[in-house]
């Protein structure tokens, strides 16, 4: 769940006909350090950004920077869809952007730290050429330049 058999038929059909990319293998970079020494950044596809930042529009393949120090009260979601319930995110942003949980892991010594920024895209897109060829690699380079070892990718 959404296990497809539990979804309404219209949602199930929409997901089954979704043009997901088909790959045979995956690039694979093993972290060079234990997690307790790694710097992590959240990269979310939940369409989040700072209040006042440029809103996501239909088909938008750009990204927004979410500085790690952004107070969660300043984070809003402009990807709204009737396909997902916004109530959980209204109640607790950690449901798709687990920033408080990550800070708790750092306090416990289980995670090294956070990069200076998180990044946000809009998910559920049918056309992703630009994310694949331009904006995705750009975020990859930014993360690398910011000394980030691990990206946690979260959907909504």
């Amino acid at each position: 769940m959404p296990r497809l058999d539990r979804l309404p038929q219209i949602s199930r059909n929409s997901l089954l006909t979704f043009p997901a990319q088909v790959n045979e293998s995956a690039p694979f970079v093993r972290p060079a350090k234990p997690l307790s020494a790694c710097r992590l950044a959240i990269v979310t596809t939940a369409g989040l950004h700072r209040r006042g930042d440029r809103l996501f529009t239909p088909g938008d393949q750009t990204y927004r920077v979410l500085p790690t120090e952004t107070p969660t009260v300043d984070i809003i979601q402009s990807h709204t869809s009737i396909g997902f319930d916004r109530v959980p995110t209204m109640r607790d942003v950690n449901i798709c952007f687990p920033i408080d949980r990550l800070r708790e892991l750092i306090a416990r010594g289980e995670l090294g730290g956070l990069g200076p920024s998180g990044y946000s895209f809009m998910g559920a897109q049918r056309e992703v050429t630009r994310i694949e060829g331009e904006t995705g690699p750009e975020v990859g380079r930014r993360l690398r330049d910011e000394g980030v070892d691990v990206a946690l990718i979260t959907p909504t």
Binding site: I76, Q77, T156
Partner: protein, 232 residues
């Protein structure tokens, strides 16, 4: 797909997946499939223990020596949790009597919403239209004029935001005011209960159905897309 682009840049990734069928095809380097509804990737709002278990399971994949790895989170959603998808307006019958004066209803909702802000340290999803809640009576009038088929405009609409997009943002902000206001009244309410109340019993719900109808009657695909995003 995004994970693959980041990994190619040299950053290790671990992803949370909500649709196993898609993840099997895309093959991100490391993914944890979670059996939760859309909007609930980390499990349940306000349940830090469950969120930590999900996070831990996703981070554990970083220890794998080869990929792609796709693992299932072992805990299923509990009975009584959210439905897999929120109910749509078309599946909810409006009550025989709903308030006629939406502007007044909205003003009342604002009082509940202020309570929500107090309880949540100011946290709100409002902000897409750029119009503060204190001026939502104006938003309601604008949406009513549009629904009535009149020439509707708001001076607050930025020149680079097309009318249907702006209407969508206004509708989303109005929904947020009501949904968060309802949560202030009934903190334990789930998305399904709130949707049934909003679409069934409020004047705002009825207004947004009419806004949807006018947008949907257009032949312009951008108007139709906005209609689909407001109510289905």
């Amino acid at each position: 797909m995004l994970a693959r682009a980041l990994e190619q840049a040299g950053v290790s990734t671990t992803s949370i997946s909500l649709v196993r069928e898609h993840t099997e095809k895309v093959k991100p380097p490391r993914a944890l499939f979670v059996p939760f509804p859309f909007g609930m990737a980390l499990g349940r709002p306000g349940d830090p223990e469950l969120q930590h278990r999900v996070l831990r399971a996703a981070l554990d994949l970083l220890a794998e020596s080869a990929g792609p790895v796709l693992r299932d989170f072992p805990e299923d959603a509990e009975p009584g949790d959210q439905p897999a998808a929120p109910p749509q307006a078309s599946g909810i019958a409006p009550a025989a009597q709903v308030p006629d004066d939406v502007a007044m209803e909205t003003t009342q909702m604002r009082r509940y919403h202020e309570r929500w802000l107090e309880k949540n340290g100011g946290r709100t999803h409002l902000g897409l239209s750029g119009i503060p809640a204190t001026r939502f009576r104006g938003v309601v009038r604008f949406l009513e004029e549009f629904a009535d088929g009149r020439e509707a405009e708001m001076t607050e609409r930025p020149p680079d935001v097309p009318l249907p997009n702006f209407i969508r943002y206004c509708a989303d902000d109005l929904k947020t005011l009501y949904f968060e206001g309802h949560l202030a009244m009934k903190p334990a309410a789930g998305g399904e209960e709130i949707a049934r109340w909003f679409w069934g019993e409020t004047g705002a719900g009825r207004l947004l159905r009419r806004v949807r109808d006018r947008l949907d009657a257009s032949t312009d695909p951008r108007w139709k897309a906005a209609a689909f995003g407001i109510a289905r």
